[in-house]
Amino acid sequence: MTTGVRTSYREAIRSALREALQRDPRVFVMGEDVGRYGGCYAVTKGLLEEFGPERVRDTPLSESTFVGAGIGAAMNGMRPIVEIMTCNFSLLALDQIMNNAATVSHMSGGQFSVPLVIRMATGAGRQVAAQHSHSLEGWFAHVPGLKVVTPATLEDARGMLWTALEDPNPVLIFEHALLYNAEGELPADAGPVDIDTARVRREGRDVSIVTYGGSLPKALAAAEELAQAGVQAEVVDLRTLRPLDTGTIVASVTKTHRAVIVDEGWRSGSISAEVTARLVEHCFYELDAPVRRVCSAEVPTPYAKHMEDAALPQVADIVAATQDAVSTVA
């Protein structure tokens, strides 16, 4: 067993933020209600008291401008960490993220770079309906010039931020809102982790379940259930959606010959579609069964619990899709 400190996903991110503020005077945190309120999800609680209002900055409800100001400050030598309350609100800042953060390095012939970190909550499951529940990380992963990471574990919640800050490019961190309360043990000396590889979270020989973010715990629960039924599922955590670690995914499927992709985004034009395409491109002849996908229903996330549950990938859906994949005879 890991010897470490009992902590939560939320506290892991907070300690990463605190460490960043302590280590680098260029780092500052900015966003809606990150200061006095302590953060919509209480991630930044206590940081204002510790670091003061210059470095923990409450902003007006002006997503486009505080994200754009983060870009400008990053280009001008600072290391801003911008928090967008939920990824739905990031749409108000899309101009700055797409047209500036993602383009400046290339469009300036490499003269300028944007070492900016943007954190945002993503995902559904709290009955907050269609304007607070979506998973848009797959959209952002479409855009060259951005890096998109989706920490699903305490270790990644703690370690991805520092690596993102050291990256000279804009890095978007998508934190699944249902993970904030997830608890576990984290080594006291937990440090930076890479942000460009996928990771096998559970070994298995029969089928690969490829997932990320808030769906990882569901995939692991499904794998546990499948194990009782004699199916050994391997679970691959993508961790980073751009750049996508094709090698790790292909290596897993080359071993198991079957793949189920679990993605809380909508199926059409999603990251699950991209992973499927990579498998087809790189290991088509290794596949013994069609690729299965478990995605959100193609509806704006509904409020009522039974409808919301039905709209999202659930453990039972993953189990069913995986059993379907392994029962297909090549």
């Binding site: 500052f28 210059e54 902003t59 007006p60 002006s62 486009s64 401008t65 505080f66 994200v67 754009g68 100001a69 983060g70 870009i71 400008g72 400050a73 990053a74 280009m75 001008n76 030598g77 600072m78 290391r79 801003p80 101009d95 700055q96 047209n99 500036n100 400046v104 390095s105 290339h106 469009m107 300036s108 012939g109 490499g110 003269q111 300028f112 770079s113 944007v114 070492p115 060259p144 010039g145 890096k147 050291e166 990256d167 000279p168 490019n169």
Partner: protein, 325 residues
């Protein structure tokens, strides 16, 4: 205070001529197919860039628009790299990746070249925030057209810069038309300085066809911004003599209006002043024109001789090279 000596007036004339002749050549080269894409000419508005740049220090930052050749030239970006960029060459200011609308130059702290109307304002706020946090005494000068005033980013940026007391000089170039849409057809309140002052910052309008008036206003504004805290807004009332871009048939404004504004050509005006003072005669003007023409010709020669980026480098700079500093 502005240096309204004859020498300084001649300097202002030279700066405006450099912009005008460069752009006239650009239009010619566009017709010849050497330059493609969009080409937005600044002709008629030269007094704004030439006047404002006098007030900025080398360490200050400039954020400009897609109609930015004038800002780049007046800021000191070399005409050669500027022209080579429009030729799409590797020796261009942005290595051929930006074109006319996206001129960048780190050496002169020239941060684009922004072709999303209003999109440069949040960047300027961020530049100024970084300077403020570090205690640097820089000013960030942000140019934008009156069309940007209709964008949400304008209002967000004015508010944030004023709220946080940031050292931004907002230079609104009011040339009366957002592409083809006249100001009075898009704004319920057409007094732009009045709008800006609602955010609690000093704001006033300036005759943008008078280079000395522009310079005087910019000097005062920059002094105020540097003294801090907080931004200043200047509305430069100006006019573009040419169409919006090379594709524009100009159906939206009467020829008489264009002709009336051309009577107020900022270059003719300052020439007339200098002639009245006896500081400029035909010989001196010819010499000046000749020097400018040679600079433009050298830029064209530079662009012609420049090379095309290797396609092996197509994806270069999508991500920054090397680790962050």
């Amino acid at each position: 205070m502005p240096r309204h000596t004859e020498d300084h007036r001649l300097h202002l004339l030279r700066e405006m001529l450099r912009i005008r002749r460069f752009e006239e050549k650009s239009a010619e080269l566009y017709s010849a197919g050497k330059i493609r894409g969009f080409l937005h000419l600044y002709i008629g508005e030269e007094a704004v860039a030439a006047g404002v740049m006098q007030s900025l220090a080398p360490d200050d930052t400039v954020v400009a628009t897609y109609r930015e050749h004038g800002h780049a030239i007046a800021r000191g970006v070399g005409m050669g790299p500027l022209m080579a960029e429009m030729y799409g060459k590797a020796e261009g200011a942005s290595r051929g990746r930006g074109g006319s609308m996206h001129i960048f130059d780190a050496a002169t702290r020239f941060v684009g070249g922004n072709a999303i109307v209003g999109g440069g304002l949040p960047l300027a706020v961020g530049y100024a925030l970084a300077d403020r946090l570090r205690g640097d005494a820089r000013v960030t000068c942000c140019f934008f057209g009156e069309g940007a005033v209709a964008e949400g980013e304008f209002h967000e940026s004015m508010n944030l810069a004023a709220l946080w007391g940031l050292p931004v000089l907002f230079c609104c170039e009011n040339n009366l038309y957002a592409m083809g849409t006249a100001l009075q057809r898009s704004e319920s309140e057409t007094d732009l300085a009045l709008k800006a002052s609602a955010y609690g910052m000093p704001a006033w309008h300036v005759d943008g066809m008078d280079v000395e008036a522009v310079e005087a206003a910019a000097q005062r504004a920059v002094t105020t911004v540097r003294g801090g805290p907080g931004p200043v807004f200047l509305e430069m009332r100006t006019y573009r003599f040419r169409p919006h871009s090379m594709y524009d048939p100009e159906l939206y404004r009467p020829k008489e209006e264009v002709a009336a504004w051309k009577e107020r050509d900022p270059i003719s005006t300052v020439q007339a002043t200098l002639r009245e003072q006896g500081a400029l005669d035909n010989v001196a003007l010819e010499k000046l024109e000749d020097e400018v023409a040679r600079e433009v010709e050298a830029a064209v020669a530079f662009a012609e001789a420049a090379t095309l980026e290797s396609l092996d480098d197509l994806a270069r700079f999508v991500y920054a090279e090397g680790a962050a500093e």
